[in-house]
């Protein structure tokens, strides 16, 4: 066992170093790595809910809440600070998560998914139709913010953003992993296996799910701020149902048993999208769709599950 866990630690370290070093060697990768990490942070939230067996097909609403925080700040208050965006965006997404969560945690399975979908579509149509406030479908530009009060040139800023995102991603991974191993995390899994027995223990399943929901909303907000800043724009598409589907997709692709799956899935997703749209004109959706089907049919535990299976096979031989 000791060998296995140290191997995992080493792999983790290697991945972190790769994410930090590759963009220095290939500068064009910097923004791509930020997107991978930022979406991975959002997917961590999806993984938390999947532990309880609940699929949110509307989580993009928190992603959009974070992104539009940066957009609104830029439009109405002038260029702000990235740290302020992150704090305000997370707080805003958390409050939204608490409000929506109070309603949706009363429902399970398909009803849970549907209500989330409905709420996110309400947000999407508001963002698209309140043209005078949100610029409608064109979205809101997010000017390059300062960081801790310091202004950076575009080249330096992408590295600052990269390392900040990497730091947040590492912290978020550890926090989520700890949360999943905590008593509350275990109770969250009990909602999936047998909710009634959980309630016989005197635990409110709704409260447990609400805690998980609010954490996952906060993670969505953080990811939204980072993506909006990296792409310098926030559009209503950020709240659309296909975006929510994309997050669930990445979670299943990576594997939901482990927080690391979020980043493995996100890396494969973004890399396929990036290279397929560059090399094979307009077929990235097709390729990703086929990949998703292959994963569901042949590797239901995702990429991390595949990796573990291979290691187990090698240990035996």
């Amino acid at each position: 066992m000791a060998g296995r866990s140290s191997a995992l630690t080493w792999t983790l370290a290697a991945v972190v170093v790769a994410a930090g070093v590759i963009p220095i060697l290939i500068p064009s990768m910097a923004t791509l790595v930020v997107l991978i990490l930022a979406k991975g942070i959002v997917v961590l939230g999806i993984i938390i809910l999947l532990q309880a067996g609940q699929v949110s097909f509307g989580h993009a609403m928190f992603f959009a809440a974070g992104a539009y925080t940066a957009g609104f700040w830029g439009k109405y208050l002038g260029v702000g600070d990235l740290v302020v965006y992150l704090v305000v965006g997370t707080v805003f997404a958390t409050i939204l998560g608490l409000l929506v969560g109070l309603f949706v945690v009363r429902y399970r399975e398909i009803f849970f998914g549907m209500l989330n979908l409905a709420f996110s579509m309400v947000l999407w149509s508001l963002l698209e139709k309140m043209f005078h406030l949100t610029n409608g479908a064109d979205g809101m530009r997010v000017p390059r913010p300062t960081v801790f009060g310091m202004a950076f040139s575009p080249e330096n800023f992408q590295y600052v953003l990269l390392y900040l995102t990497l730091t947040i991603a590492i912290v978020a991974t550890f926090v989520v992993q700890r949360f999943l191993e905590s008593p509350t995390g275990n109770m969250l899994r009990a909602i999936k296996s047998n909710e009634t027995r959980l309630e016989y223990l005197g635990v409110s399943a709704r409260r447990i799910l609400l805690i998980g929901y609010v954490i996952s909303a906060a993670l969505g907000g953080i990811g939204g701020v980072l993506v909006a800043v990296a792409q310098q724009i926030a559009t209503p598409e950020f709240a659309y149902w296909t975006k929510s589907g994309e997050f669930v997709f990445i979670a299943i692709l990576g594997g939901v048993g482990n927080a690391m799956g979020a980043f493995a899935g996100s890396a494969v997703f973004e890399l396929v999208r990036f290279y397929a749209s560059a090399q094979l004109a307009n077929s990235w959706q097709l390729i990703l769709g086929v990949v998703l089907i292959a994963i569901i049919l042949f590797a239901p535990n995702g990429l991390i599950g595949l990796w573990k299976r291979q290691r187990a096979a090698r240990d035996e031989s």
Binding site: L50, G53, V55, F57, F103, R106, Y107, E109, I110, F111, G113, M114, L115, L117, A118, F119, M121, V122, S125, L126, E128, K129, M130, F131, T196, Y240, W241, T242, G245, V248, F249, I252, N282, S283, W284, Q285, L286, L288, G289, V290, L292, I293, I296, L297, P300
Partner: protein, 299 residues
């Protein structure tokens, strides 16, 4: 709002509701039997529309009247070929697996179909309004409207509603489908081939979605993204009615279609908001939908 606008909005709502009903009832039927929410349902709608437009443009030089059978042929082809392939090749492998995997496999189909649609038909809008132009306008309370939209579409929707009712309640195959819906194990035990029931149900549902698209094609320009919008809308209708409720879906489609049409005339910017607001409001009060039966909790 004067009386002309009132009539106009009602007719808009009626023709729109007819289309939405066809798509939603297919979605609802599939969920009722297979217990899978088909995310690719909107893509079947879009494929039906695009194929219908292509066939219509093809047969118009021979005789414009051939466009009507073309609409029907297009929906049958999409329903049977695409629907059959999706069920046989993919869905049949995930029955009994986790709900999220079932949902995501249809999401994968959606991604693939969305991409194929752009590859086959491009991103430029396509118009094929021949079937609409062939029929004369009718005057209803002093408002002139195309008879295709206020007569043909609602009649097809009503036929579909009664056809489905008859099929499910009066025919052997219908009874078999209901039996599988009620209790799959018991049905299988008395010799019912559940696999076949799933395939047939999915094909019927897919054909209804494609029919909705084919019938919609003369009334609108076909653009990428039409399926993406339709899936959430039909989903909102089916969920508001209660998944698996056929008559309820008809009433809800009519209500949401009407509400949307009136909002377009009164407060156009909130048009897209209406169905989702109704859905949120209904689901908060009655999560099983307006017409759904309350389910007991399993211990």
């Amino acid at each position: 709002m004067n009386s002309t606008l009132f009539v106009l909005a009602s007719l808009d709502g009626l023709s729109y509701a007819a289309l939405v009903f066809l798509v939603s009832v297919g979605l609802s039927l599939i969920f009722g039997v297979l217990r899978i929410v088909n995310v690719a349902h909107g893509s079947l709608y879009a494929f039906g529309a695009y194929l219908a437009a292509t066939l219509s443009l093809l047969v118009t030089p021979i005789s414009p009247w051939l466009t009507y059978p073309a609409l029907l042929v297009a929906s049958l082809v999409i329903g049977i070929v695409a629907g059959g392939l999706i069920e046989r090749l993919l869905l049949s492998r995930v029955y009994g697996r986790e709900e999220v995997l079932q949902l995501l496999i249809t999401f994968a189909v959606f991604m693939i179909m969305d991409n194929l649609q752009r590859m086959i038909w491009g991103v430029q809008p396509i118009y094929a309004a021949e079937p609409l132009k062939l029929l004369p306008n009718v005057s209803i309370f002093g408002v002139s409207y195309t008879s295709y939209q206020v007569i043909v579409l609602p009649v097809v929707a009503v036929l579909a509603l009664f056809g489905l009712r008859y099929f499910l309640r009066r025919t052997l195959m219908g009874s078999v489908i209901l039996a599988v819906t009620e209790d799959r194990e018991a049905a299988t035990a008395i010799g019912i081939n559940a696999q076949k029931v799933y395939l047939i149900t999915f094909i019927i549902g897919a054909t209804l979605a494609a029919l909705g698209g084919a019938l919609a094609s003369p009334t609108t320009s076909l653009v990428p993204g039409m399926g993406t919008e339709m899936i959430v809308l039909s989903f909102a209708v089916a969920a508001t009615a209660g998944l698996g409720q056929i008559e309820g879906t008809a009433i809800t489609a009519l209500a949401i279609g009407m509400a949307r049409a009136f909002v377009i005339y009164l407060q156009p910017e909130f048009e897209v908001l209406v169905p989702y607001l109704i859905m949120v409001a209904v689901l908060l009060v009655r999560p099983e939908g307006l017409f759904g039966a309350t389910k007991l909790r399993k211990i």
